[in-house]
């Protein structure tokens, strides 16, 4: 049986564009915003926060686009399992915890995936991507463009976050 078409898709690119490759997520969101299909919502922020749960709950699937400090190059695309993990801090939240909030607070089973784009330089201030990260960004964009046309998220899983 084929997978039902997931109509309402939310893409959240997050990270700090002022910290070099940490800005990969927002950079992809910016590129995608101009070309995304009408049933795809694109958002960008410095980091994930709890109120994102309310927006995610209104979608069938959410793709978290983030810079990855390790894992498969040029990117990996992995499903996210909702979890109830708790961090000491505070002001940001992981994709798994966020989906846990969606499940436990909003009673919705939005599917979640992380598109982790491999970055290399994080420890300086600067509004630029490293050359290798810029290449990875374009590869990730092509991948996401195709994915948003075909909508077969489960089949697209690739790479490792380790």
């Amino acid at each position: 049986m084929s997978e039902p078409v997931l109509r309402r898709v939310l893409v959240i690119g997050y990270g700090n564009p002022g910290r070099l490759d940490d800005g990969l997520g927002p950079a992809l969101a910016q590129r995608l915003a101009a070309t995304a299909p009408p049933d795809v919502t694109v958002d960008a922020d410095y980091q994930l926060t709890v109120e994102d749960a309310a927006a995610i709950a209104e979608h069938d699937v959410v793709v978290f686009v983030d810079a990855a400090v390790k894992g498969t190059e040029p990117f990996y695309f992995r499903p996210v399992t909702p979890s109830a993990e708790v961090s000491f801090t505070s002001h940001s939240i992981s994709p798994a915890s966020l989906l846990g909030l969606v499940r436990d607070v909003f009673r919705r089973d939005t599917r979640g995936y992380v598109l982790g784009i491999r970055g290399y330089e994080f420890n300086e201030f600067g509004e630029r991507l490293s050359p290798r990260a810029a290449v990875n960004l374009e590869r990730a964009r092509d991948f996401l463009d195709r994915l948003l046309r075909e909508r077969d998220f489960a089949a697209a899983v690739t790479g490792s976050d380790e």
Binding site: V50, E51, F88, T89, S90, F125
Partner: protein, 480 residues
Amino acid sequence: MAQTTEKLNRVAIEPVTRVEGHGKVTLLLDDKNHVKQARFHIVEFRGFERFIQGRPYWEVPVIVQRLCGICPVSHHLAAAKAMDVIVGVDELTPTAEKMRRLMHYGQTFQSHALHFFHLCSPDILFGFDADPQIRNVIGVIQQHKDLAVQGVMMRKYGQEVIKRTAGKKIHGTGAIPGGINKNLTIQERDELLQDLAQMKEWAQGALKLAKDYTVENLDRLADFGSFPSNHLSIVREDGAMDLYNGKLRALDPAGGTIFDQVEVPRYIDYIAEEVRPWSYMKFPFIKSLGPENGWYRVGPLARVNTASFIDTPLAEEARREFKAVTDDKPNNITLAYHWARMIELVHCIEKIDELLHDDDLQGTDLVRTGERRSEGVAIIEAPRGTLFHHYKVDGNDQVVMANLIVSTTNNNEPMNQAVRKVADQYLDGHKITEGLLNHIEVAIRAYDPCLSCATHALGRMPLMVQLFDSQGNLLDRQTR
């Protein structure tokens, strides 16, 4: 300073924490196994000031948002205020001033709501001796789902206010030197009015929860990580709480005035920063009192202590109740931060209410100009406390000097004091127990420190506690 100063220098802060970020606490014992010193290491970025240098001044209100992904609006507004001075504007148009205030109250509202419902409320609802497996936001969701939902929706409301005043979340451009680049449309106003009554009701509920908890547990809280301290904030000319604009006031632990109505550009005559070899983060202090006695607290507790009154009725009533507990003297109870924070939460939603009913927000006179100046200083009360921005700009419009003192830096020494007090009270032998970790967490959380400035990447943010004996030997190390 501790007796083992030469050994203290061996404690290193790993630069990699800039990517993952964590809260690291080092406890140093004396010969009698009492906690001689506690060090709360926070990774603060060096080099941001250099990053700004050479940029045209009008870019700064946007660029500084890169400093902190948690409170970009505070930096945006502080930089814009400093650049108002640079462009020679001492008074904004009513529309510009009120739009900025609306943005600021929205930011503070969502920040305080997030902290209370998702960090503080587990401690209050379950008690801070409770198992951390229960004492967390998941426990709140399971047992008090209504509160968890309120936390998310209040945070969302504050973000909606920000979106309509600052523009995009990641590239807010609302405030510009000399004013603002948009007003609030009737449609935007009406959208924000829709949920206002609900937000006010929830804010009052949170205030009651925080107040009742503090009053019912007053004896215990009075001894928990608490200590007398100075308190600093800006206040309005008539002494009222003002989170957006004002002059500096500092009170001593008994409520005596250290200084008052200090003009913002003169902060440098009153505040200095001490460098300690074990920390990247500086330790600000009041010059006239010196580094030993001049450190001070900032943030909600300090602001409710320093304010002569609050100019919104519900928050003022709450402030009076708060002050009555300490006979109108400053409240020095660390965990009273939560109560004070909720007083401000109510104040913010009252202010948002007031502003949304003010026609000036639909005005079209947005920007003023003046005669260019070479130096600008601004202070704003960010959610976590007093935030200083100071810039010099050359004849080519480029920034040549930037100095920022952020809220968490201002609370640096108080957080160390709180951890030392708690650790000395709850350390049993040479082991870091779950109970000790719990209590250190609770004490640090009261200050709502910003630990993950500027970057996040994928990864968790643990709390790590290390215990050293008087000879500098590592006795125990625990991470949560």
